[in-house]
Symmetry: C2
């Protein structure tokens, strides 16, 4: 895979798309078996919805393959090539990571999305989806293999773990001699389990406790727009704001209109004592008291914690203490406050005057994403093709030795 | 530390250098106690040599501080800032990693070198040197703290683990809530232990089984120069060649003069059967037979394994099978062979017509290095200041929300 040309990889993505189109009946049969079993187990409607390979879902998967096909190939790019006094030239070349393991829930669309990104970056991939989707994933893997073979690439470059045994996850996570990096996509309990068990390095997403801080020098219109969007554009996403911080000096101006807006959208508010005073003075009721646990909560729901802080320093302290190093925003017109927030908030994405919801591979222009990383090493924030590659040093010489 | 300006960090490095100069008597007293204990334990001369803070060693450490001072500050650099259709600008900012743990042998000079690099990159650092150097390291840490305080930076940004208890290493390696990355510098057994035990992500160097492949299209003069330098310029370094691979078609031309040169320098040769035939036909004797274990050996000594391979493919297969993904070179005048070797050899440093000995932070122009990484994630190859930093995303908006 590492030596595959861009043309060969793009051709493979196209033949996989065609194979999926051809195999549609077989794929839907396999998926129907998974869905029937899920219904027997009385799994909930949302679960079965994510599991189902509808015509629309298949079309989206096929469109996704063609979109990854259209992305620039990151592999082989040479950067920073410089001449050294010894006579050699030193630079860096972008190369595949090798074998990537993906662990994910019972969502067959991830099988195709993840495989496409890994292949485009020249990697082999081992997929372990939720056991409830095993028949679907095995059928998808057969279509992928036939597409790879038709394009002259190794048919086994994409493999699905062919067992529903949950012990396979732990095994996969310790196979350092076969797997270069693990990308777990799933709930917090899976990630926490892997953080204890895994020996293979991970690109992982733990949780998203995201903040907007409305600074003393905020523009009111921008504050309302950003805070509204960050909380209410979607509730269940990891980059949704979970705690709103407001500078004390501007709280009486910002909080009442903002909280009326939230209450109009049925967002439940959990507030600190100072916020309660400000809001009740403005005639706003139906407020719950925020506890210490609320500052650490990832609600993924129409609930918002609100805290008044003294100033920028207190806001940065709160975020670095209670946040999850995911995505945090400041609303301010103050040059130095913006600069300090950008530099001192230790999160994967830090925004000025923009909604936290922008922290996303597509919005950032990566073209696609395999996930969002809370880690500081290697890939941080939305992870696209580049995060699935490595930079090695190359040296071009003319027979030089070291003195 | 993360918010320290370049001036403050440079000032701290200068005041630490001054503090070391002032404290020289105290430092040498503490070190003398360590050396006396090492002599009582009958530790060998090389060990005590590395442990000793001679006047020359102290001068080198102080010069090292001033050299790190002169390096460009990587922190705060913004790259790839691009405007997106949504109206936001997205870019990446280079920021410190946070708290770095360094585990190393009883070499007090590493205490200063590692602290200097970590501080320059805006990190705090926890140092755990070999227990035999504890008094020296604690004395050095006091000088560092007084230098930091004099420069107005946190005096405890550099800390030495104040116990000789070996259990401290295992403890340090699992404190994910306090330490962002671990840089172990030591023997293979320490690294292997940490690979089993550590929960903190590591930037690590396991071993250096480095190759030179003399291609069928090699220039003889360059081949002799590169192979001589790669093996004999220094024997004990991780980027020294340990196995020489030669294309069958050129073996009779290259191997005899090269092996005469090695034998003149008392390098012991362990050869494959085909190499033996070629060499004995040229009248070269005193050859040992190479075994499978030799292909995996890191001799760090005047010993060289030699193998004749059929062609470039066989050479790449050998390196990717037996090597340690450290540093590998090809000698060739063939354009496509050079390109394929660069791309397909999966090592941290890949060289064309240059000695493996160049794989070094100073030779690569990094200014200094904290170590050489065999890992593929994050930092690969020689690790300088950049490897001690992280890239976060920054977004500059004007009140935008996501649609």
């Amino acid at each position: 895979m590492a030596r595959a040309t861009t043309a060969a990889k793009n051709n493979a993505l196209a033949t996989i798309a065609s194979a999926l189109e051809q195999d549609i009946t077989v794929l839907k049969e396999a998926n129907a078996r998974d869905c029937a079993q899920a219904q027997e187990k009385a799994l909930d409607a949302a679960f079965i919805d994510r599991l189902t390979l509808s015509d629309a879902a298949l079309r989206t998967m096929i469109a996704g393959l063609r979109q990854v096909l259209s992305l620039p190939d990151p592999i082989g790019e040479i950067s920073e090539l410089k001449s050294r006094p010894s006579g050699i030239q030193v630079g860096r070349m972008r190369v595949p990571l090798g074998v990537i393991g993906i662990i994910y829930e019972a969502r067959p669309n991830v099988t195709i999305d993840a495989a496409a990104l890994c292949l485009k970056a020249g990697n082999a991939v081992i997929l372990r989806g939720g056991s409830e989707a095993l028949n679907s994933n095995l059928a998808l893997a057969r279509s992928i293999s036939s597409g790879l073979a038709a394009a002259g690439l190794p048919a086994d470059a994409v493999q699905v773990v062919a067992t529903a045994d949950r012990a396979a996850v732990g095994k996969l996570a310790t196979m350092t001699e076969y797997i270069d990096v693990l990308v777990p996509r799933g709930g917090k309990s899976l990630i926490e389990r892997l953080m204890r068990e895994a020996r293979v390095p991970m690109i992982k997403h733990l949780d998203g406790v995201c903040h907007v801080y409305v600074d003393s020098a905020a523009d009111l219109t921008k504050a309302l727009a950003v805070c509204d969007n960050a909380k209410t554009q979607r509730y269940g996403t990891c980059n949704t704001m979970e705690t709103l911080l407001v500078a004390a000096s501007i709280a009486a101006t910002v909080l009442p209109p903002l909280c009326r807006l939230y209450q109009d959208k049925a967002v439940a508010l959990r507030v600190c004592a100072r916020s309660r005073t400000v809001l009740e003075q403005a005639g706003i009721a139906s407020l719950a008291d925020a506890t210490e646990a609320d500052w650490r909560a990832e609600y993924l729901a129409p609930i918002l914690a609100i805290r008044i802080v003294d100033d920028l320093d207190a806001a940065i302290d709160h975020i670095n203490t209670y946040g999850s190093a995911h995505t945090d925003a400041i609303v301010t017109e103050h040059y130095d406050h913006a600069q300090r927030f950008l530099r001192e908030v230790d999160s994967a994405s830090v925004l000025v005057n923009a909604s936290t919801r922008f922290a996303d591979g597509f919005e950032y222009g990566l073209g696609a994403e395999i996930g969002i990383s809370n880690d500081k090493l290697h890939a941080r924030g939305p992870v696209g093709l580049e995060g699935l590659t490595s930079l090695k040093y190359i040296v071009l010489g003319h027979g030089e030795g070291r003195r």
